[in-house]
Symmetry: C2
Subunit: 248 residues, 2 copies
């Protein structure tokens, strides 16, 4: 087994031959530019090649399939999860919370990222750096590495799931071409037709209470994240080396 069947193990540049006219990084950058501007479905090998001024099939010198382009995009974007300054925050809860918020910021900035990242295992160098950072925050709590991975995985599962539903809502609104009010009205008329059967008392109450102010997307994200971190912290009675004095 040479390991070359894996994108990240395969050397970008072979030993011999002319210098390539661009690089995997440039390919990832171009793909991200297209996806940011026109969405994931605008990405095609022909389009990327045209943007790079190369022949379509030339891209396959850098990558063995379109799927690997997606791998490159995800790992490139994941770098933005990491805060600029490397020094670890004093509190692991604060650290994970910060990471979660940075992840959300990044996924909202690149709406294609969350669906794409959810469908593939995080395997690239920046994902590894991210995991290293997260694990480092949990060092000294007396957890096994396996427990740490489970904990970090739970936080990212929530973050990913939340942001995907947040983005799906926004995307559906955009595609429908309706205003928010029109879309709510359409939704409401469907729900009304269900309520008419009398089997949906809670939804009925929902329509009656509507009109109050809604929680914003930020607040809803914070709610679940903070509850999850609360629960995790409560499940760790054993404190780190700094002693049990710190209550929160």
């Amino acid at each position: 087994m040479t390991g070359h069947e894996n994108l990240w193990m395969r050397p970008e540049r072979p030993a011999r031959g002319p210098r390539p006219s661009f690089s995997r990084a440039a390919l990832a950058e171009a793909a991200i530019r297209v996806a940011d501007a026109e969405g994931l479905e605008a990405i095609s090998m022909r389009r990327l090649a045209a943007d790079l001024g190369a022949g379509t099939m030339s891209l396959y010198r850098y990558v063995t399939s379109k799927d690997e382009v997606f791998d490159l995009m995800v790992d490139t974007a994941v770098r933005e999860y990491l805060p600029e300054d490397r020094r670890p925050p004093d509190d692991w809860v604060e650290g994970l919370r910060l990471l979660a918020w940075q992840a959300r910021r990044t996924m909202l900035r690149h709406p294609w990222l969350a669906p794409l990242a959810a469908g593939r295992p995080q395997a690239g160098p920046n994902s590894a750096r991210l995991m290293e950072t997260a694990l480092g925050m949990l060092d000294g709590l007396g957890l096994s590495v396996d427990e740490m991975l489970t904990l970090v995985g739970a936080v990212f599962a929530y973050v990913n799931g939340y942001i995907q539903s947040e983005l799906a809502e926004a995307e559906a609104l955009r595609r429908s071409g309706l205003t928010l009010a029109q879309r709510l009205a359409q939704h409401l008329s469907f729900i009304q037709s269900l309520i008419a059967t009398g089997e949906y008392p809670m939804l009925e109450r929902m329509t009656k209470e509507a009109g109050r102010q809604y929680m914003g997307a930020d607040d809803r994200f914070a709610y679940g994240l903070d509850r999850l971190l609360d629960g995790v912290a409560a499940g760790l009675p054993r404190r780190g080396a700094e002693g049990p004095a710190r209550s929160r």
Copy 2:
């Protein structure tokens, strides 16, 4: 606005004309059968039509786009989240936990469901029934409907995010054609190359601790779910009408 631009408001059968040779339900069923057996990417309008013994374009009498086929599939499958007996569980935490486990069971049974559901707002009748059920569990806790929606949304965000990463791992393994051991070895050799730089102390520790037993996927799912529910419960000091006696 007639409302007919929405799949769920549009009548399946128009007032006049010959009887259609199948139904939206049959279309959804056929699509689910194909996706279960051969994956989401095996679904095409031509393929579904062939399975139904119809012409390709005839499907557009039932649905305005392929996307609506996906809507039908999701809403049909979501019905499986709901437990068979309708009587509400005595405890809202138990109720939500059960719902989460049922959702996971369903999404593992239909591996195409989680990615698909994550990308579209839950809008069909079965999604409404699901939401009605979940909200009903939270009745009497003194929450506003908006708070209830946020709470339920957080739980489903976690469930969806977790299962997508669980499925992504399994899918990557399947596509690689490697055994689990081979894949771990490949992963390890990549991580080793990173460790060689000396900048990944936690990953280094991870490789050294490996070989111990891993937490299973069930346990990892339960961990995050239970921590989240713990945190939510702790954030609700006010108890329902049954009095504050019940501690858990």
